[in-house]
Symmetry: C2
Subunit: 158 residues, 2 copies
């Protein structure tokens, strides 16, 4: 039971430390850590629909929409009609958005260096792998308690 409670708290503490250090670094660019994640997600895969963007962040579509409104107002992202699906809109970085992202990437470098500096290279790889395993396991099953959804599905707990 020692590890059982330690692991979630350690995960939380590490993430919050990362988040706060990032916030502090990005503050002078008037961008939050979460906005950085959005910009970084767009930088890697431009012209996503809002839903796809939300899925990758990961976040809620209506949350992402609220963030996009803020960023669009500042000219960092733009939304255009989707070429084939006229319900959808594609989101991309503007030129200013790409510039901002490059600045932020540089500004965040010390934080990434500080994380990696605490680890052996092999440990960093391992840590990333273990975190991914944990995230996958937690996301694998979002069945609301009490509704058993059929035979196949990683049963974890009622």
């Amino acid at each position: 039971m020692a590890t059982e409670s330690k692991l979630p708290m350690a995960l939380r503490a590490a993430y919050l430390a990362l988040h706060r250090r990032s916030e502090a670094r990005f503050a002078r660019y008037d961008v939050t850590a979460d906005q950085f994640v959005l910009l970084a997600t767009l930088a890697r895969g431009d012209a996503l629909t809002q839903r796809e963007l939300a899925r990758r962040m990961p976040s809620d579509p209506s949350t992402v929409r609220a963030m996009l409104v803020l960023l669009e107002r500042r000219g960092l992202v733009q939304r255009d009609a989707h070429p084939t699906d006229s319900r959808a809109r594609t989101v991309s970085l503007t030129a200013a958005g790409r510039r901002k992202f490059r600045q932020l990437w540089t500004a965040g470098e010390p934080v990434r260096a500080q994380m990696l500096g605490a680890l052996e290279p092999s440990e960093a790889e391992l840590l990333a792998r273990l975190l991914t395993q944990v995230a996958d396991a937690l996301n694998a099953q979002s069945v609301p308690a009490g509704r058993s959804n059929s035979h196949h599905s990683q049963k974890v707990e009622p």
Copy 2:
């Protein structure tokens, strides 16, 4: 550079997955994941000052105060005068708070099991250790950029 950007995102994804699964589990008790952390911190070390509670969570004193006001209103925590320092107030769980915490602990069990189920026992230990290393490294130095504070201090970046 692959790992350099992967690690922060993996950390974020794992934490958010944990946070959301926890929120879903705790929702029927009308307690948020962060409130659970506060209650758990009190359950482990009762009669803390607000500052000490904030330090352990970790969170900001004024954030903790806002949370305490909510929880106090619902009778889950109480604040009393500090025995020796009359500026300070001690925070503790009420009987109802302790009961609630036990319920929450049980409600969260499947989530913890799901995390640990994705890992070998030795991996779980290792993961907790690596996360602690990372958190310590990130917290070690919060020197505002541009102010070099003397000779000794883990220099990381200007």
